[in-house]
Symmetry: C2
């Protein structure tokens, strides 16, 4: 089942050969809508196969599939609108220094995109997930490296996509699929691969990032690797909503057995009575959480070892001990540590690394500067969350300042809510400083399409030769910047 | 004069400390305009120093300085308009899958930017050049690595920028300047450096790109490295305008003693009488070109060795022999070679590498497919140019097809004009497939600002805490996407 180098080469060449069939935007959006309809129509079989391979359960998987087809349709709409082409037109201007000739710029697809599937999202970050949807929307064929946790599902989903492609006269090679670790390495090195999208671990992602950068012709590598997703609970918030915050945190950190990249993994809670109340509520809620099954045995082993290693550090307590639940399950829990232990480099830095699974680290701080010191030591994150009191949220107190302090840490700042749940929306940003992502881009939301395009400018091109997108009379009705003026 | 590691560290820390002073867009644009005014006011002294260090001559240098201050003012306008903030606002939408919470996204500055100056543009791609102007416009302080060809000028220009900064209460450290090869290496490795811009050679640029990628926290490296800038002359164009094209080519390839990154370095000319006429006109015009002085002795040595090595290849002729002109000068010339020699890998591939200085390679092709075969073997380019006949330009013939064929090769496609002369305009794109650039971005034109920003989204943030840029009532009047609708 593992693809040989020759098979990877064949998949990439087939994808490359299919790129012309994606040139027409109307064909692309129709293809994406057919793919969405195909996934919806095949739902029962897909969810059954996914559940057999991942144990994520039919409810979660049905929801994830709906998200996936919603996302394909959202990108179809983006393709139709055409704002992503970023059309800019300048007529000649002799008053500029130097003079400006006729210049017209838009964005063109990069070429074949390699997509590395995630274990924890067999639909939404896999074969038909956000990387694939945004790449196809941009006009780029894809070759997907299937995740070993769901190979059969990967094949089924690829078939749905290929059937949708065929409906619109697009060669089936437009969506390639390969299995196997070595195949993934071959893929990133292939001369006809122009860019890559990845969701997974820091170790795996960094190895592929390094390989992408080391190519004779380096390519963009958009990887989402790992994130601690810090949460800051202010003293006033703890006083006001200890129970609500403790219970909410328990729900967010144990959602999907803690297997979300945006799971809150470090929570700054004030010391003292209000914080104690929060920890008490958290204890109660986490204790009530049933054991869960992780995606595979490797993850279960890593989780058990990871929490054990962290729990034995000096001054680390575990009010609810996370670890092995049953033979195949794990039980949720959390650790506590005084903020002073994290003020400087040391053994406790292990607590500043992501631990995949249903565990979080509650850091008790004495004062604002202690909390700030811990935040300043964190690596980059997908999200940073703050829980504020009603007064702070209304603008009395340090709320705005805290938002400004959290902004450098993450790509999404959440207020009085939880980071789990990543909406597919134009304003979404699912990315953040390294290692959250290896680039400044997002892997969720409309702007994810920008990753697979590059601008090209035409100088002095006669109107008769211009692509329709760049003509003065704007026959396609595209939003654009025309002689400096934004037109909608 | 070479900066020690400690001095580099001090410069980066001073720049980092100055970032808060750039937060206000009104201050930034005022600073950029003061910098432009300062350069204009200091013109005579700056041009004199630049000419003494580079021998580029007062006419060219005065023009380049005007371009540089124009560019600073253009970025001031971009800062004021605020479209680059890319504001996207989504109100909650429970009908989406999954539901969309309140989400508001815009772009924030990355942090300190390292700028590596170019030898051949002591003003426009150096201390106050496009990288610096766009980084400051984005809100990022810079530390510039001066080019060793113009150290005194670099100091003078930095002083002008710092004086302008001080006028607006911005610490002078906002523009750092370091000299020395080792300092450049230290700079790219500094933990507080968030991104880099570079204009220079493939060798130097690739080494820095590799260092940027190998950091514990990799950073974006926007390098403009090298480009052959192919030109295709169609048979019909040669028949119609042999003399005009030959003369125009001579002017473009010898402009600035051939020291432009967009110099046409490979020209596909049809075999036969029309092409012969073009070569004759080129011969006459290049023969009339006086000897010139290259930027430094290293470049002169490389030029002389580079053309000699190419000229001795089988079937390579030199109708006008380029090489050593006088003791310090070089003379312009060009080489010819049959396209068949470039159809496959071999010794003649040396002709597909950029040779800095006043030389170009005229490739004579027998038919369209021979020309296409040569084009398909080229590395990425900043520009690709086609010379068409009037009929072809009017849409009769293969004009549109040729444009489509040239698009994958370059970031700018030029029709019936020459690639030298890079306008500063919103529609400009000065970049292209590797090695033309190491990213998909541009180093000239308004969109160059995008290189120094990253998006951040705020979820469920109360209105009282939001930055003004993200408020519903749009107090700053920014262009934005509001609940899916583009607003200007």
């Amino acid at each position: 089942m593992e693809a040989t180098a020759q098979e990877v080469d064949a998949a990439v060449r087939a994808a490359h050969a299919a790129r012309g069939a994606l040139a027409d935007r109307a064909v692309r959006s129709a293809f994406l809508r057919s793919a969405a309809a195909g996934l919806d129509a095949a739902r029962d079989g897909l969810v059954e196969t996914a559940d057999a391979e991942t144990a994520l359960g039919p409810v979660r998987l049905t929801g994830e599939l709906a998200r996936t087809s919603y996302q394909l349709r959202a990108f179809a709409g983006i393709v139709d609108e055409g704002a992503f082409l970023d059309v800019v037109i300048n007529h000649p201007d002799d008053t500029a220094t130097p003079p400006i000739p006729d210049l017209r710029r838009y964005k063109v697809p990069l070429g074949v995109v390699a997509v590395y599937s995630a274990s924890n999202f067999p639909f939404a970050f896999s074969v038909a997930g956000g990387d694939t949807a945004s790449a196809l929307a941009a006009g780029c064929p894809v070759v997907v490296k299937a995740h070993p946790d769901h190979p059969a599902l990967s094949e089924l989903v690829a078939k749905v996509l290929r059937r949708a492609a065929a409906e619109h006269g697009i060669p089936e090679g437009v969506v390639g699929l390969v299995h196997g670790f070595e195949a993934g390495v071959e893929l990133i090195k292939h001369p006809l691969v122009s860019a890559a999208g990845f969701t997974g671990s820091v170790r795996g992602g960094r190895a592929l990032f390094d390989a992408a950068a080391a190519r004779p012709v380096p390519i963009p590598f958009h990887g989402e690797l790992g994130s601690l997703n810090p949460v800051l609970v202010t003293e006033a918030a703890a006083v006001e909503r200890a129970e609500e915050i403790g219970t909410g945190l328990a729900g967010s950190m144990t959602l999907g057995v803690g297997q979300f990249c945006v799971k809150p993994g470090l929570v700054l809670v004030p010391s003292g009575a209000a914080g104690d109340g929060l920890v008490k509520a958290l204890t109660a809620a986490v204790s009530d959480t049933g054991a869960g099954v992780l995606l595979d045995h490797r993850m279960r082993d890593n989780f058990i070892a990871g929490v054990a290693e962290r729990a034995q550090l000096p001054e680390v307590d575990s009010p609810v001990t996370p670890g092995a639940g049953g033979e195949h399950t794990v039980s949720a829990g959390f650790l506590t540590v005084p903020a002073s232990r994290l003020a400087e480099e040391g053994d406790h830095d292990r607590l500043l690394e992501e631990c995949f699974g249903p565990v979080t680290v509650v850091v008790r701080y004495e004062n604002e500067s202690e909390a700030a010191a811990v935040l300043s030591r964190l690596p980059g994150n997908l999200t940073a969350t703050v829980q504020l009191s009603a007064e702070e949220a209304a603008g009395q107190g340090r709320g705005a300042e805290i938002l400004a302090e959290l902004t450098p840490l993450a790509g999404r700042v959440v207020v009085n809510a939880w980071p789990t749940g990543v909406a597919v929306a134009p304003a979404q940003h699912h990315g953040g400083p390294y290692p959250a992502t290896t680039s400044t881009s997002t892997s969720v939301g409309g702007t994810a399409i920008e990753r697979w395009l590059r601008p090209v400018a035409y100088q002095n091109a006669p109107s008769a030769l211009l692509p329709a997108e760049l003509r003065d009379d704007n026959p396609l009705g595209l939003p654009r910047r025309f002689n400096g003026v934004l037109e909608r």
